[in-house]
């Protein structure tokens, strides 16, 4: 793909806003009633984050890994690839993050979730709630049909947003942040070019989670 280097960001936007958001509608119509399972998994994740501890942390890592894998396959490979020739790279990126999350779940001590206490803990829960409930509302709030709602486990942005919440509460190291932050940059660029009102939602959530994570790191050293 050496041909890509000759282009500006706006040159690479090869689809319209309507076509981009229509993908979520087509995916939802094709997968119904899988959405109920995805919502169930999202709620289970939220319960894990509220409970905290090692067992909840392991379950959360497993559920998130499955969500990333599903987005890689069902959204990027099956849907996004039909309009974006760069989608195979996103399939690989999301699959890699799924592998990292499976690896995290397999570790004996590591995936312990911090108790969501204090303002930073509550921030993690707020980000998770926005990922689960806020993202689906974006479609009707932007004048798009409900059937085009972006759901955790199906669409990339809410899945990444919920991951930011988990990474904050896991007190996770840098390695697990790389792919979510890269996707955050790609998604934001795409949505800015599409003049989508929600363009800055994911980077704001990422900044909040990263900022809070850095603060906890500083505090633990102090």
């Amino acid at each position: 793909m050496s041909e890509w280097w000759t282009y500006r960001l706006s040159d690479l936007l090869m689809f319209s806003k309507a076509t981009y958001f229509r993908l979520f509608e087509l995916q939802n119509l094709a997968l119904w009633p899988f959405q109920l399972l995805a919502v169930g998994i999202g709620v289970a994740l939220l319960i894990c984050l509220v409970q905290g501890g090692a067992r909840a942390g392991r379950i959360a890592a497993l559920l998130l890994a499955l969500a990333w894998l599903h987005v890689a396959w069902n959204y990027f490979a099956q849907r996004y690839a039909t309009i974006n020739t760069g989608a195979p790279y996103f399939v690989l990126g999301f699959a890699l993050q799924a592998v990292l999350l499976f690896w995290l779940a397999s570790r004996k001590r590591e995936p312990r979730l911090a108790q969501p206490v204090g303002s930073l803990g509550r921030l993690g829960l707020i980000i998770a709630v926005i990922a689960l409930l806020g993202y689906p509302l974006l479609a009707p709030l932007s004048g798009r049909p409900w059937t085009g709602a972006e759901l955790f486990g199906l669409a990339p942005d809410p899945t990444v947003a919920l991951t930011f919440a988990a990474l904050l509460l896991w007190r996770s190291g840098l390695m697990l942040w790389i792919v979510p932050l890269l996707w955050c940059a790609i998604s934001t660029s795409t949505l800015v070019e599409l003049h989508a009102g929600q363009a800055w939602m994911l980077p704001i959530l990422a900044l909040l989670a990263m900022g809070a994570r850095l603060l906890t790191a500083v505090r633990s050293r102090g």
Partner: protein, 308 residues
């Protein structure tokens, strides 16, 4: 079932074209014969307005959007259009064009223009064949090296195909002004039937060197981004058409912007892209009726610069 739905939509589009309230004003304003220009290297007549597919035809496998693209192609061809342009870079656009052509029973009028866009010259022929199958055509009329990528190797391939009568015309494209120097060198030294460049009422760099050189070397000019990818029509959307628009039979800014381009004698064909069948029909009307002379072109350019 899907096919019958599409045919029904097409029928509605055709009926609409026959005189609905929506299309009435457009049809009423359709004056004179379709303006064509001879391709400099062959003399073959080509309508001066074609159809691009960047972004607008990249709709994936969405059946509703594909049906609408089919309506666009139908409206374009029904109003005298011939040249449809695409590229392997345009996502699903080639497959969507192929779908539309299949639905329309592979219209004879089609002038198929595609591109080769791959960093490896050796992989060019395979990409061209894959593109051809997506279009569902026995051969392309025109193949262009997209954005000068690996142009020396690809031009060799295309010239060979032309020599073997597997291709009718050879071209090269760039949509970036900063690469005009390289394009000019190629135009000066290589046999080309077409170059495809960006040109519109505000972006007129090609007038300085590329248009005169094309005339001298008998190279046709295909114009992409006639509306600056929609930015111009959007910026002018709420601005009333000046009085001169009526003088050249324009009922919309899009037509005025297109007439500005195709009135330049060195331009073979402008290729606006649209996902709206009514706009496809409206664009084709810009190839009919009176064209602006040099003085009016200057006035159009000044008015657009002032209003945007």
């Amino acid at each position: 079932m899907k096919h019958s739905t599409e045919r029904r939509i097409l029928l509605h589009a055709m009926l609409a074209g026959a005189g609905s309230a929506v299309c009435g004003p457009l049809l009423a304003a359709a004056p004179g014969p379709l303006l064509t220009r001879p391709i400099p290297s062959s003399g073959e007549a080509l309508p001066v307005v074609g159809l691009g597919s960047w972004i607008t035809f990249n709709v994936g496998d969405d059946p509703a959007a594909r049906a609408r693209c089919t309506q666009v192609v139908q409206a374009f061809l029904a109003n005298g259009g011939r040249l449809i342009d695409s590229s392997p870079m345009y996502g699903s656009a080639q497959a969507v064009i192929g779908h539309a052509l299949g639905q329309l029973k592979h219209p004879q009028a089609l002038f198929s223009a595609d591109k080769v866009w791959i960093g490896s010259g050796a992989r060019g022929p395979a990409q061209i064949d894959s593109s051809r199958r997506l279009w569902g055509v026995p051969r392309f009329d025109l193949l262009q090296v997209h954005n000068l990528l690996a142009w020396e190797e690809h031009l060799r391939t295309l010239q060979q195909m032309k020599a073997e009568k597997r291709l009718r015309y050879v071209g090269i494209t760039t949509s970036e002004g900063r690469r005009h120097g390289e394009l000019i060198k190629i135009m000066e030294t290589r046999p080309l039937d077409f170059v495809q460049v960006s040109y519109n009422v505000l972006d007129r760099e090609i007038e300085a060197r590329i248009l005169p050189l094309a005339r001298e070397r008998k190279i046709g000019i295909i114009v992409n981004r006639p509306f600056r990818q929609g930015d111009l029509t959007q910026a002018l959307a709420n601005k009333p058409l000046p009085g001169w628009a009526a003088e050249i039979g324009c009922t919309s800014w899009a037509q005025a912007l297109l007439k500005f381009i195709v009135a330049e004698p060195g331009v073979s064909c402008a290729i606006p892209a649209t996902s709206n069948p009514l706009h496809a029909r409206e664009n084709m009307l810009a190839a009919r009726g009176p064209m602006p002379d040099a003085a009016l072109r200057r006035r159009i350019a000044a008015d657009v610069a002032r209003l945007t």
